[in-house]
């Protein structure tokens, strides 16, 4: 099995980073062996990267359904379980039920959206990871693994495409 090393190339802008990703692909580095780290969100299409799957909308929908059911329970379930007949009035009332169901549906939707970010991103995660603080200064880091024997060739190619630095990626305490 070929020994691989993890490298990090740092770019000043989106254009050279996109060119570098294209170059890496032509040199045999697959998209699954690359990660882009940036200080602002950069859409995949600008970097020529495949779309990233996110479960957040599905989790949000799931949360909304749970919230809706909770609202139904409070609006219709509790008066059924513990009936309190007052002056011949009905046990259930439509308009108040809409209010209760709406609030709990939205709470379920928003809370699960929030939790979805944690689940999909594996937050919180404080173990050491490959990172450079220049990223939060606006640089774009392309993190990739390559066979050790290609390291020098790739480094030269990255530098030629405008990389400010190409260095072994070190996991650091975040």
């Amino acid at each position: 099995m070929t020994e691989r090393s993890m490298l990090l190339a740092l770019f000043d802008d989106v254009d050279p980073a996109a060119d570098a990703i294209e170059k890496l692909r032509t040199m045999g580095i697959g998209d699954e062996q690359m990660t882009v780290i940036s200080g602002i969100p950069v859409l995949e299409k600008f970097l020529g990267r495949p779309s990233v799957w996110t479960n957040v909308p599905r989790l949000a929908l799931g949360g909304a359904v749970v919230g809706f059911l909770a609202g139904m329970f409070f609006a219709y379930g509790t008066p059924t379980m513990y009936p309190l007949n007052v002056g011949g009035q009905g046990l259930f009332a439509g308009p108040p039920a809409i209010v209760v169901i709406f609030e709990l549906t939205m709470l379920g939707l928003l809370a699960s959206t929030f939790l979805g970010v944690f689940l999909d991103s594996y937050f919180p995660s404080y173990q050491p990871k490959e990172y450079v603080t220049e990223v939060s200064d606006g640089k774009i880091a392309v993190l990739f693994s390559c066979p050790v024997e290609m390291e020098s060739g790739i480094s030269k190619a990255m530098t030629a495409l405008g990389a400010e630095a190409v260095k072994p990626a070190e996991a650091q305490q975040l």
Partner: protein, 473 residues
């Protein structure tokens, strides 16, 4: 010839550079500015903080503790005004809290670029404003140790809270809004605390490290975060509308003169936006004048844009006010007519007139002028007057309107007692929380500013340059 031809081009370009989005600086420099603004604290800051902490201790903790021990008799609420300043403050603070969602969510959805540098300043107001609203309602409750009776679970007698009651809708709506707005505050904060984590040492490093959750800015992390922010921006808007509508229903569903109105829901929502946006303007003036480097991020263009919003909202508020007034006045109900006369000619009639002057006359007479809108101190004064006017509006709707009911033998004037120091205490607590947050949380979302600057550029069109915006989001 060439000189005259160049002059307008240069002046145009210079004019465009007055806009934050067209006056970019390197991200590292902006980061350093925001970090310095958080970490630079003068002795004056500590004096003000200490004073506010003292006010909170005496006026909020002390007086409230005394009232809990002695009972609600210390407050002025009595027949016929069983709802007084505590409820006025609750409605007022919920109103203030609407600004964060409006500025952040609605303007985000509408892609209003001027929002970028001050979304967080507004979102913080939402969370801290709701905290004051919560405190005020607990004060009104009197026996706060029984607050858990509101929680949706059966009590010892197997009775659930009555979900047909507007008070339970309030409980659900306010808690939903508080949780949602806190989550909405936190999500876009993650990249900024990551930036702060990368630039801090000591206890700050530990603090930001915990808050950053291990964020690096990978493609996956950004897509999850952005998707969530998109869902939040859309979904929190109806929640915001529902909160103040439900607060309005606390009054409107009662068959009382002055309260029973079908228009109270939207009228309250617009009133909330009126006071909230005015409060954002005030906070921005204070941040700009007291925190380092904030003149770069918060510019006259931002006050100008907020001023336009304030003017439009003031006109909308006037429309709803008149709509409500007209129908009640025309209706001819005996007690409603007496109440309307009492509003204007009663012992507190001056409040009614000041409400209209502060909420309508002053914004309309001043905010049409761009120079006024672009002048921070003028915007502060107008914002302050609008907030006083909106507080008066709630005071008129609640204790003053409760004075007149359908049983004349109960009529009597409301005279606040412990409510006054407790109101001062909540105001001091809001400012104190904000001041502490300004030292701990990056008030400017730098990544959002950089993202906006990335999307904006100047393009030569013929003989001049024109600003262009790329669709990068």
């Amino acid at each position: 010839m060439s000189a005259t031809a160049k002059t307008p081009i240069l002046s145009h370009e210079e004019e465009y550079r007055q806009h934050l989005m067209l006056d970019p600086r390197p991200r590292g420099e902006m980061n350093a500015m925001v970090m310095e603004s958080m970490q630079t604290t003068s002795w004056k800051f500590w004096v003000v903080t200490g004073f506010l902490a003292l006010v909170v201790l005496v006026s909020l903790v002390g007086i409230w503790g005394y009232m809990i021990a002695e009972g609600l008799g210390l407050a002025g609420i009595t027949r016929p005004s069983y709802w007084g300043i505590f409820i006025v403050n609750t409605v007022f603070w919920i109103g203030i809290s609407h600004a964060g969602t409006f500025i952040s969510a609605i303007l985000r959805v509408l892609k209003a670029e001027f929002r970028r540098p001050f979304t967080r300043a507004a979102e913080l107001m939402t969370t801290f404003g709701l905290a004051q609203a919560g405190l005020s309602i607990f004060m009104h409750m009197g026996r706060v140790w029984l607050a858990y009776w509101m929680f949706p679970y059966p009590n010892q007698r197997d009775l659930w809270p009555n979900f047909h009651s507007p008070l339970m809708w309030d409980f659900l709506a306010i808690n939903t809004y508080l949780l949602a707005s806190t989550m909405y505050l936190y999500l876009p904060l993650i990249p900024d605390v990551t930036m702060a984590r990368d630039r801090s040492t000591g206890w700050r490093k530990v603090f930001y490290r915990i808050l950053a959750l291990g964020f690096r800015g990978t493609e996956g992390e950004w897509i999850h975060l952005r998707t969530a922010m998109g869902i939040f921006a859309l979904a929190i808007i109806p929640v915001m509308f529902s909160v103040h509508t439900i607060v309005a229903w606390d009054f409107a569903v009662a068959m009382r003169p002055g309260w029973s109105s079908t228009i109270f829901g939207p009228y309250f929502v617009v009133g909330a936006l009126h006071s909230g946006i005015a409060a954002v303007a005030m906070v921005l003036v204070i941040i700009r004048s007291t925190m380092k480097h904030m003149t770069y991020f918060i510019r006259p263009e931002h006050f100008d844009a907020i001023g336009k919003l304030m003017l439009v909202v003031s006109m909308t508020w006037a429309y709803f006010f008149f709509n409500d007034y007209m129908v009640q006045w025309y209706g001819g109900d005996k007690f409603t007519r007496i109440l309307l006369e009492f509003h204007e000619k009663g012992p507190l009639g001056w409040i009614w007139f000041l409400m209209l002057i502060f909420n309508v006359a002053i914004p309309w007479l001043t905010l049409w002028n761009k120079r006024v809108r672009s002048t921070p101190w003028a915007m502060f004064i107008i914002g302050l007057l609008i907030n006083i006017g909106m507080w008066f509006e709630r005071y008129i709707i609640i204790p003053i309107s409760l004075t007149i009911n359908r049983m004349p033998f109960t009529w009597g004037e409301y005279k606040p007692g412990a409510e006054i120091p407790l109101s001062i205490g909540t105001l001091a607590f809001f400012i104190l929380l904000y001041m502490i947050a300004s030292r701990l949380v990056p008030l400017v979302p730098v990544w959002e500013v950089q993202e906006g600057q990335h999307a904006h550029s100047l393009r030569r069109v013929g003989k001049a340059v024109a600003p262009t915006v790329s669709e990068l989001e």
